[in-house]
Amino acid sequence: MAAPLTLLLIVAVTIRAALYRSSLAELIAERVEVVSPLTAWKRVVEGLALLDLGVSPYSGDVFHETPLIIYLFHFLVDYAEITFMLADVITAVALYITVKDYNKQVFRKQKFALEADRYPADCLELIRSPKEMYYIPLKVAMFYLLNPFTILSCVAKSTCGLNNAVLSLFILSTIKGNVLLSAIFLSLATYQSIYPLTLCAPALLYFMQRLYIPVNVRRASFWWFIVQFAFMYLGSLFVIICLSFFLLGSWDYLPSVYGFILSVPDLTPNIGLFWYFFAEMFEHFRLFFLCVFQINVFFYTIPLSIKLKEHPVFLVFMQLAVIAIFKSTPTVGDIALYMAFLPVWSHLHRFLRNIFLVSCVLLACSALFPVLWHLWIYAGSANSNFYYAITLLFNVAQILLVSDYFYAFLRREHHLTYGLYLKKKDGSEATLILK
């Protein structure tokens, strides 16, 4: 299994290296779908230039990276391409190991359930065989590395690739059961872009499941574990924030990074929902809608964790998707991360309702983004509404995709409990509906 992975890595690195050398790299680096004001490489270079001029990079409104990133590239700026390729490789390998481990656990659980005779008799065709699960880890790595979104993001040197690497390391250490490392990587991810905060819930659920701690609010052991995890998480977050403070000697970065993420002052177009909405917003309602939209990202955490408390890895997938759709400045790199998980849920395909339509819409939108951008910005024959319409459609497609997978997952769980071929009282074939 190591050989195909190595081959994949070599192919992926070659594609990236070739694109770096081509004239396309500059074009890609300017694309608003690929880079946001938060992740643009041009702005990192600007931050470094400001540091060289003796000006605090946070005194202006161009640089919004965290201090650790600027210090990382202070040393690595000449090796930026290698760094970004390495980040992608790390992400892919981490996801590969994660999924491999996860599949083992799934298989073991399935075996126990079969032995305990817990599945209804007609559900045998829903049982997953080791043969079909064998290539899933490789597919996940491939979905990440060869996804055009990831390649574009890497060639544009969007720092989103680094965030993805941190997130995948967090998932890996969670699956491996390392509480401390998991807390540290999660705090790093949170430090980079607030939103991964919501991944606390799946991590906690996973650890509790693994350590046989009952998820019960009346049990002391439950609360004790939460306190332990919170201590590690907040402690490492505190250390990172203080470290950033000592690196720059000021707290300027807090409003410049987190204030920027939360208050969305820069309305540069992107694939998200925020930019045009807040460009057209009545000033009077601005704060209200800002709060609504930001809360929307965090809002789904608790209901999702209640519904999916037995399935923390699917919860991770859902959370990543919700963040990628509803965050203030999404880029295609964020989408690539949750899309890498799609092969893990390949067994759900028989329950998906509109996957064909959704994939067509996603593909069409991806092609239309540059076209309508050109018509608006360069040709002047379209206006902002055209581009906005495409972002809307793209987001609707993403929402449908995610909710479709969620539906399929719940439906499969239902079938695993009640049998696949359900009958009505009168013995005729029944249809399942949500009520």
Binding site: V55, Y300, V396
Partner: protein, 639 residues
């Protein structure tokens, strides 16, 4: 004198701290005239020192000393004989003058200057309540806002340096305001805000649009022009409004500040219907403290009002190359302002010593010389305080009739222009070109750029190239912008190599603004104020080392420091930049559509989270349901 010249040469070494309008106005003939000349000379101004070597130059001076002396003796006698000013030393003084220069393009450049000097102290809690010549509104502004220096200009049109040469007083298109506050001021920004609003009222201009998004604090480009050279730029505020349109409503309040209003003296010429029918119009007010005497024991406040106009010959002269005061201003002069201690008209005849280029009537015997922008100019002088000037007609109507359209102009040594490169509405590049036309000397220039926040500059893309080679600026002061708070400020000290173009480029990105932040005509574009290029330019007089034909040999072996450079400030064109615009007609639609998408996300997740899977039971038909209800009432088993 030695100390003064020494201090002047020390100051010369610095680029800053130079007085541009003293340089423009300094004359050889004035020092003969009593206390007034001493007032004019600020001890720090190098241009003043630049005048003196010329005074020692015998050959040039001999022709005019005889002419100039009576002209200057006269006003003193008038002063003494005039009722109302019998006090031993009047504390205030008013002078007016008009300089007319025929330009080589065929246009006429007319520059008015009105200077009011007042030996008083607005500061230290003094309650100044008795005003004579000095306008009360200005005096109150100075004392209320603790202003040390105030410079404001309103300009319509762009000064074409390459066609017209250097102006006496440069100003950018639109409105420009820069103020030095006293160092006792604690809340400079608050003072600035109030001051701009007050000035907005005084001059009927949109100065109230000056806020933190277009105000900068230049660190080197704008130094105080008056005495007490405190250079902490915390007390300096600089702002331009390139979009400001100057018209007659700005001229009327400006004229009201003059002691004679528009009733007498040179100001009767200021008729707005003619002044604004011109290629270039600029009016300015400069307030600064100056020295009263050579030891600088007492200081006085100087209010200098200037108005520069360039008339297009073809529109004002109906195609004939001929003009007169009447044609230009539709007025002739009949008297000086009675309150003025000096009232003169200067005609630049440097290029016309023998009268071969144009003919000037009535002729005047008075001549004056001045070193102006490093160039020795000769002027015909008309002294309006002498009755003889007005002749038998009791009115003065200067007339210039051109004889030939020949003539060449010395190319200005420093010239700058600017444009935006690139296409599309996403990014762009600002190119600033600076021309050093000096054949063999390089000199440093200070470039000041203030760019609004919605053009996000990337300072790492800054390149300075001359002759195809990288030219690293020796000093860069950069302040990045804050969204909706403050603009970018970029100041650089660049050495311009001789006889070549230096190009400064910097890339920017155009921001998408909120729909309420656009101007009512968003597709017209957004203005970016002029860049300011300040420099010490090597003078033309010292430029030609081999043209020693007209000068004694002993005078020109070593280049004379005082005369060898002069201060110049030039402004580039303002830029007009388009930004991407949202659709202004559909905020409701956008709010509805985006919220719908969010609701689709919320709804589908809510659906899956709260409901559970159930087997669909077909609902019975209506008749059956009705029958069941009836059966239930009857107590029979339902169907």
């Amino acid at each position: 004198m030695a100390a003064r010249r020494c201090s002047a040469s020390v100051v010369l070494l610095f680029l800053c701290g130079l007085s541009v309008f003293v340089a423009a106005n300094e004359q050889n003939t004035t020092p003969t005239g009593g206390y007034r000349a001493a007032e004019a000379d600020s001890p720090r101004t190098p241009a003043e020192a630049a005048g003196h070597p010329a005074a020692e130059d015998g050959r040039w001076e001999a022709t005019e000393v005889g002419d100039a002396a009576p002209a200057d003796a006269e006003p003193d006698e008038r002063d003494a004989s005039r009722p109302g000013t019998t006090v031993p030393q009047p504390k205030d003084d008013f002078q007016e003058e008009l300089v007319i220069r025929p330009l080589h393009s065929g246009d006429i450049y007319a520059s008015f200057q009105f200077r009011t000097l007042w030996e008083t102290d607005f500061m230290k809690g003094n309650k100044v309540s008795h005003y004579r010549l000095f306008p009360k509104s200005v005096g109150q502004v100075i004392s209320k806002f603790s202003v040390r220096e105030l410079h404001i200009s309103f300009t319509q049109g762009y000064w074409r340096t390459m066609q017209w040469g250097q102006p006496f007083l440069p100003s950018p298109p639109g409105a420009e305001l820069w103020v030095w506050f006293q160092d006792t001021v604690t809340d400079v920004d608050g003072m600035w805000k109030e001051l701009t609003n007050v000035l907005s009222g005084i001059f009927c201009a949109s100065l109230n649009f000056i806020d933190s998004t277009n105000t900068v604090q230049p660190s080197a480009s704008f130094k105080p022009l008056g005495i007490d050279n405190v250079t902490d730029h915390r007390f300096l505020r600089y702002a331009t409004l390139p979009r400001e349109i100057v018209c007659t409503e700005n001229l009327t309040p400006w004229k009201k500040l003059l002691p004679c209003g528009s009733k007498a003296g040179l100001s009767v010429l200021l008729k707005s219907e003619k002044l604004f029918h011109s290629s270039f119009h600029s009016q300015a007010v400069h307030i600064r403290p100056v020295c009263q005497d050579s030891e600088c024991k007492t200081t006085s406040w100087e209010l200098r009002q200037t108005l520069n106009v360039v008339f297009d010959l073809h529109t004002s002269g109906q195609g004939k190359r001929e003009w007169s005061l009447f044609k230009m201003f539709s007025r002739t002069l009949t008297e000086a302002c009675p309150l003025a201690s000096s009232s003169k008209i200067y005609i630049d005849i440097t290029d016309n010593p023998e009268g071969e280029l144009f003919e000037l009537t009535p002729a005047t015997p008075l001549l004056s010389q001045a070193v102006l922008m490093g160039d020795r100019r000769t002027f015909s002088v008309y002294d309006l305080t002498q009755q003889i000037t007005f002749g038998t007609m009791r009115s003065l109507n200067l007339l210039i009739r051109w004889k030939s359209s020949e003539g060449h102009m010395l190319r200005p040594l420093l010239h700058a222009e600017r444009y935006v490169a690139g296409y599309g509405l996403q990014a762009g590049e600002i190119h600033t070109l600076m021309y050093n036309n000096h054949p063999y000397r390089s000199f440093p220039v200070l470039l000041l750029d203030s760019v609004p926040w919605y053009l996000r500059l990337y300072v790492h893309t800054l390149t300075v190239t001359s002759k195809g080679k990288d030219n690293k600026p020796s000093y860069i002061h950069y302040q990045p912008s804050k969204d909706r708070e403050r603009p970018h400020l970029l100041e650089m000290l660049i050495q311009l190599p001789p006889n070549c173009v230096t190009e400064v480029t910097v890339q920017f990105e155009r921001a998408l603004l909120k729909w309420t932040e656009y101007t009512p005509d968003p597709n017209h574009g957004f203005y970016v104020g002029s860049s300011v290029v300040s420099s010490l330019v090597p003078s033309i007089v010292a430029m030609d080392t081999n043209s020693s034909l007209e000068r004694p040999l002993f005078s020109n072996f070593f280049p004379c420091k005082e005369e060898s450079s002069y201060f110049v400030r030039i402004y580039t064109e303002p830029l007009l930049v388009n930004l991407p615009t949202p659709d202004f007609s559909m905020p409701y639609n956008v709010i509805c559509l985006t919220c719908t998408v969010v609701a689709v996300g919320y709804g589908s997740l809510y659906n899956l989270l709260t409901r559970s899977f159930q087997i669909e039971e077909p609902s019975p038909g209506l008749a059956k349901r009705l029958a069941n209800i009836i059966r239930k009432m009857r107590g029979v088993q339902p169907l």
